[in-house]
Subunit: 357 residues, 2 copies
DNA sequence: TCTTTTTTCGTGCACGTGCACAGGTTTTTA
DNA sequence: TAAAAACCTGTGCACGTGCACGAAAAAAGA
């Protein structure tokens, strides 16, 4: 039971005592600061090894409190009725903000309209001008995002990406889902639910489909599953850049007329509620509906059995972890930090009550 | 942008200055200690409210370091080849242990054999004799668990339950799944996958089925779904108290002979691997198989397409949160603490890579 | 050898909180 | 009215670490 020497006891003081030097010297060795003889440094390092010394993070941050606050810039889409999704990451970010504020880290918000690229560029410039200590962004527009990442690299500012990734640039980490497998999983669900002789439909609803990385990746994954396990002619495609309900309903009605065997609809984003509204209006609860995101509107349809499956990627946790990983890095100097691939969760009317967003 | 007054600045010192009292007095008010005039107390409390004061946890724990270490007793089943499941909670517990050790909290382990009630009782007695500062248990045997909970109540020791619950006793919180809905969700999955004219089968494999709260609750939920949405005669029951493979295979073979329309099998615990082994041996990958737990053995079958769905309840997180909630309570005196119902996750071959246990 | 520069090291304060102890004030008792 | 008791409040140290400042020692220059 007793076993090895307990590591937790003895801090800097014990090291100083054993090495027969002062606290200041030990401190210099630990923090790799100059001004200590090589011989002394080695001796102290040996004792640090021997004691398996782990600095007390509480005391460390407490001591640093006097040094002033660190600023973390957060860039994400603003929240409209249409893009309610982004409320969740923001909540996670705010939660983290509250937790780390007293440790001398504060979060600065920058918002942009997902439909206006110039605003995004403008906000990127503002961030660069303000030179924060850390950056968290959702890289909706690739060009400006890369510019910001290059800037961060030069200034040695840690940069975290969220929600979708730009892999080949220099960044601290990516926090978000593996979108291809998200689509692939949808294909699998469709396969399980598909009855004899039925067809499935994939629906993209977004103003800009060709530039939307998220939608494209999910579709890739979905199609990959169909190629592997099903037949292409069991699938009907539909792209809609007009996101108004009337337009959506009209297109869907026409398509259902043409393909009466459709038994399953897969919507590649949170606009699944539009389809649900339409399905309910025409009284076709029997059609299996799969979509995205744990939003109030979607949950309503889920509870009522109109939507059958919601795929969710913990947007709140994404925001929270994004900020916290910067916090970890800045405060505790945690150098090693892998990308964090968020689980792809399946939510139905039977388990939504326990889901943590 | 400036808006309201920033809450983070100013701690006890600022309160003392505004109330025109000393630090000691403020401290007494905050910690509800005696020896301060009612008038003064009210004045200080008002200022605390006004400043929205939040104590600095770093400093708080740092100050308490001198006070000595707290001991947390953990009681859970030991890990055999048959009960590999319990490795995960233990990992979570150990992870928490490492994190909180330097804050002066240490974890003491107590193990028992799930098949031997007397050992459980014995360990409960050992815990009571050692009088720890906190207790975390998996209440496999109800009678002894209640005895321990009563002891804790008398001694004011916080007691956390994990994995399954005993609701009506005095306890700090429960951390685990809502088992009824877990079974209900399985029913729903079966419904989605059931093809025309097929039957489903529910299989319980455990030495003691009638005393196993977890299995019974899941079965309740599953049957509830069938009553609501399907027909009872689409369901075949099977209970097996002999957990050896040969015996399982024999029973299953016989039953499949009798009910050839069986298209889906639901196993109510992690023994689903036994059924998978059998299915693979008879070459019936077409039968949909649903079971429990993110274990290596089960994952193998999942990847190969023998098992189709695994329901998982984050056992590692359960252990982690169990210890951490005690830590929170003991160190930060977080009085309000709800039960934590773990999400019921659906894992398939398409998303298992991203699952966090 | 003495002064100047550089290197190396020790000391003291700060961070925000908990707690023991002592000093002070009011109320009770003799 | 003085002494004793009860009550209230202020002061100082500790927790472990980071950093500034200055002192001591060593090295370089004259």
């Amino acid at each position: 039971m007793e076993g090895k020497e307990d590591n937790s006891l003895g801090g800097v003081k014990e090291i100083a005592r054993r090495a027969n030097v002062s606290l200041g010297t030990v401190d210099r060795v630990i923090n790799n600061r100059a001004g200590v003889a090589v011989k002394t440094r080695n001796r102290v390092n040996a004792i640090i090894e021997e004691l398996n010394y782990q600095p007390n993070v509480l005391a460390r941050r407490l001591a640093l409190t006097s040094r002033g606050t660190l600023r973390v810039a957060v860039l994400l889409p603003d929240i409209s009725e249409e893009t309610e999704y982004w409320k969740a990451p923001l909540e996670g970010i705010n939660k983290a903000d509250l937790e780390i504020r007293q440790y001398g880290v504060q979060v600065e918000h920058y918002f942009f309209d997902q439909n206006v690229q110039s605003v995004f560029a403008e906000q990127v410039n503002r961030i660069m001008a303000n030179a924060p200590d850390g950056v968290l962004i959702t890289p909706t527009f690739e060009k400006e995002s890369i510019a910001l990442m290059k800037f961060c690299k030069k200034k040695k500012i840690p940069c975290v990406l969220m929600n979708s990734d730009i892999p080949d640039q220099h960044r601290l980490c990516y926090i978000g889902p593996e979108l291809f497998d998200s689509g692939y999983l949808s294909g699998q669900l469709v396969h399980y639910c598909l009855k004899e002789g039925q067809k499935a439909m994939i629906v993209n609803i977004a103003r800009e489909i060709e530039n939307n990385v998220a939608i494209l990746r999910k579709e890739d994954g979905f199609l990959a599953y169909f190629r592997e396990k099903l037949s292409q002619d069991q699938l009907v495609h539909l792209n809609m850049t007009d996101t108004g309900y009337a337009s959506v309903a009209a297109r869907l009605t026409a398509l259902l007329e043409a393909h009466q065997q459709i038994g399953i609809i897969y919507v590649t984003n949170s606009r699944v509620a539009l389809v649900a509204q339409w399905l309910e209006s025409i009284g076709r609860k029997d059609i299996v509906l799969i979509g995205y995101d744990y939003l109030d509107k979607n949950l309503d349809y889920l509870k009522r059995g109109v939507i059958d499956f919601l795929l969710c990627e913990k947007p709140q946790e994404q925001g929270y972890r994004g900020v916290m990983s910067l916090f970890q890095y800045l405060i505790f100097s945690t150098t090693v930090q892998e990308d964090y691939l968020i689980p792809i969760d399946i939510v139905t009317s039977a388990n939504y009550r326990y889901y943590r967003n």
